[in-house]
Assembly symmetry: C2
Homo-oligomer: 165 residues x 2
């Protein structure tokens, strides 16, 4: 690993006197920490909206790929087929998306976002943008672009990414 210098800072959690110790040396820890906060904030901001775990990401993948099959969706989101069934069930029940049998292959269900689903997505994306802004306004535009690039470069280290939202 890298940790060249031995500048030993006392790393504590805000007001409690708890130290993080070696955990603090790891990027993964920092990533998780922020990501946790972000998703917590997002969850809080959408508490009234009946959000289920993979629902938002699934819906937005469907929106970006009209006619996608459930199987493809499963792989894209990184969930098991059986979970995708439940999610699509709920999407359909709430009329955010619809299943249509594929005419060419009658085993497949082609998925499409309804207008209500589009509206729902717009709302959630707006909330998400707001949530992120609360944190990102700490960075300049240039820094933000750089951060994006670094994260992408890291992600490309994986030969077969697999989106896993």
């Amino acid at each position: 690993m890298k940790r060249g210098g031995s500048k030993r800072e006392e790393v504590e959690a805000a007001d409690s006197g708890i130290k993080l110790g070696r955990l603090d040396e790891f990027i993964g820890f920092r990533l998780r920490r922020i990501q946790n906060q972000l998703s917590r904030d997002f969850a809080a901001a959408t508490a009234d909206r009946n959000m289920r775990s993979g629902l938002f990401s699934s819906l937005s993948i469907v929106a970006a790929n009209p006619g996608i099959s459930q199987n493809e969706l499963s792989k894209a989101v990184g969930l098991d087929k059986s979970i995708t069934v439940q999610i699509v069930d709920e999407l359909e029940k709430r009329e955010l998306a619809v299943r249509e049998r594929s005419p060419t292959d009658r085993r497949r269900h082609a998925l499409f976002v309804t207008e209500a689903g589009q509206t729902y997505l717009d709302e959630l994306f707006a909330i998400l943008a707001e949530t992120e802004d609360a944190v990102l306004h700490q960075l300049t535009r240039a820094e933000l672009a750089l951060l994006r690039e670094l994260l992408d470069r890291m992600y490309l280290a994986y030969d077969e990414p697999g989106i896993s939202l």
Copy 2:
């Protein structure tokens, strides 16, 4: 596991056609994506070691804060008291840590890492470092330092962080 295929899964155009759509615009998405891969890799690399979810982070917090109480640990790790009980139960059963009654306040259990626990931690930290290196070698030293700083700056946007591992 890193390769999440249920059966044989060709490296073919698995996610070739799938677009991310607006999801791709968000930093949180990129964070989660990498963080997911990292923890998946870490889980795979430690599959033989009986890792339970909060166990590693809890143990390392205890190591960094000898004598910490279970309550403090709960808050630090961001888990419910009742889960912490289970985790400490397992830590004790595996002789990685011990509970000792506090002499000043007999309600509290002061937690300490055993030598075996220290060894265990060393191993896991080594694995974690390896796991991260696989991704981080894409970045130069300078970029890595910058990334750290940007992430920290983002995190400090929260007045009352709350570690939540």
